[in-house]
Amino acid sequence: MPEKETLATGRAVSHGSAERTLAEVFELSYRRLVVQMYGVVGDFPEAEDVVQEAFVRASAAGGRFRRVDNPEAWLRRTAINLHRNRWRKLRNYNRVRPRLEVSPPDLPGLEEHVTVIESLRQLPSSQREVLALHYLADLPVLEVSELLGVPEGTVKSRLMRGREALAALLSEEDGHE
């Protein structure tokens, strides 16, 4: 019987000795990963793109991917690294291009929650990453620390500052309504 890991939200993710097909992992994790990456990058098309690319890499990995303990964690790490790699490449370009005044397109149908993503976008990326991974992916501080390669104390301080900043932004938005 496969080992069960219960996430903070109460949803259970099966992992352990049983190998799963890519289709099973796709069905179980694709939507979750896209939303987590949406929070991390603040850009829905980019989130979809890096998650889909992570599944392409998983498909290329073949049997080795099927044997990993936690496929969703593997895909999440791959998607984050893909995004970081792209961001590094774009960084110099962004320095010289005219600043875009428009926000990236949002997920259609999410209008009632749009202030959340708009507020997340206004945070520094380092704070947005830890908030998204902690609250949207339900990862404990230690796992966020390992995933991002930063000390636990740094994750905690970014969480604290990010929470305060996000609360201020959300209450500001509420005040405008």
């Binding site: 890499r57 290329a60 990995a61 959340v116 993503i117 390669g149």
Partner: protein
């Protein structure tokens, strides 16, 4: 901050995300895999062992028809020649630690005076007396030794390709001592773990195999070799960067060794 707002955002967003065509993603994955396998088939098979450092024996991957990939690299870059013991012209090379698992390529620059082997190396004299060895390996480890002097590719303990599993496995290899605790680092823009290793020095008649690699064969521990090692997590795939040298390796050669490491870039296959 109202955490409930984030949870509600997540729940609603998950309902709205539509699934793309998995068949298309799998098709792209197969193309990526085929391209890498084809690249590897052109490497010559050779079996050779050296008596010092962490060295590699090449595995024969069979007769697969090479398909040339689109080559968008600058003309100054050439494919790393692989495990042939011959002088390596100075310049920039592209090296492939793995061809089957989606692992990326790396680009590295080599100064004059180095040899082509699975990674660039140099050595001089009798390694059992005053000789020295220096070499860089960039490999994808698939299994590690569980018994000293009695390890073959068929008897090793498999690693799953993740960085965490590889680090744990390295700590268990007989004949290899981790001399400083693993420390988090960043290498080439990716999260990495830094370890210092030292071979334990016992002599094995057929060489003390330490680990097997995806593409590059068995890696053998020398009689007394220091290794500055990084396990780099590249998009979920662990790559081992091993900077090996003997205590007698000249300072100038060590400096060149680290210059090669500093030149390494992970090449995005896309």
């Amino acid at each position: 901050m109202n955490e409930l707002e984030l949870r509600e955002f997540r729940t609603r967003a998950e309902e709205l995300v539509s699934l793309p065509d998995l068949a298309d993603l799998e098709s792209r994955g197969r193309r990526l895999r085929r391209r890498r396998v084809a690249l590897g088939a052109s490497l010559a098979a050779a079996v050779l062992a050296l008596a010092g450092g962490l060295v590699v024996t090449q595995r024969d991957d069979g007769n697969q028809t090479p398909i040339e990939p689109p080559d968008e690299r600058p003309p100054s870059e050439v494919d790393y020649p692989g495990p042939v013991m011959e002088p390596l012209a100075p310049g920039t090379y592209v090296l492939r630690p793995s061809l089957q698992n989606g692992a990326p390529e790396v680009r590295l620059t080599v100064p004059p005076g180095w040899n082509a082997w699975q990674g660039p190396n140099r050595f001089d004299g009798d390694l059992n007396t005053t000789g020295w060895y220096a070499g860089v390996l960039v490999v994808d480890v698939t299994s590690v030794a569980s018994k000293k002097c009695r390890y073959t590719a068929a008897t090793g303990a498999a690693v799953d390709g993740s960085a965490a599993d590889l680090i744990a496995a390295i700590n268990r290899i007989p004949g290899l001592r981790v001399t400083t605790e693993a420390a988090p680092a960043e290498l080439f823009g990716y999260p990495a773990t830094h370890l210092h290793l030292r071979t334990a020095g016992a002599f094995c008649r057929d060489g003390n195999n330490l680990f097997d690699t995806e593409q590059n064969g068995l890696v053998i521990g020398g009689t007394d070799t220091l290794a500055d090692t990084w396990v780099v997590d590249v998009d979920g795939e662990a790559i081992l960067i091993d900077v090996g040298f003997t205590p007698t390796t000249p300072t100038e050669i060590r400096r060149e060794l680290y210059e090669i490491v500093e030149s390494i870039e992970v090449v995005d296959p896309e």
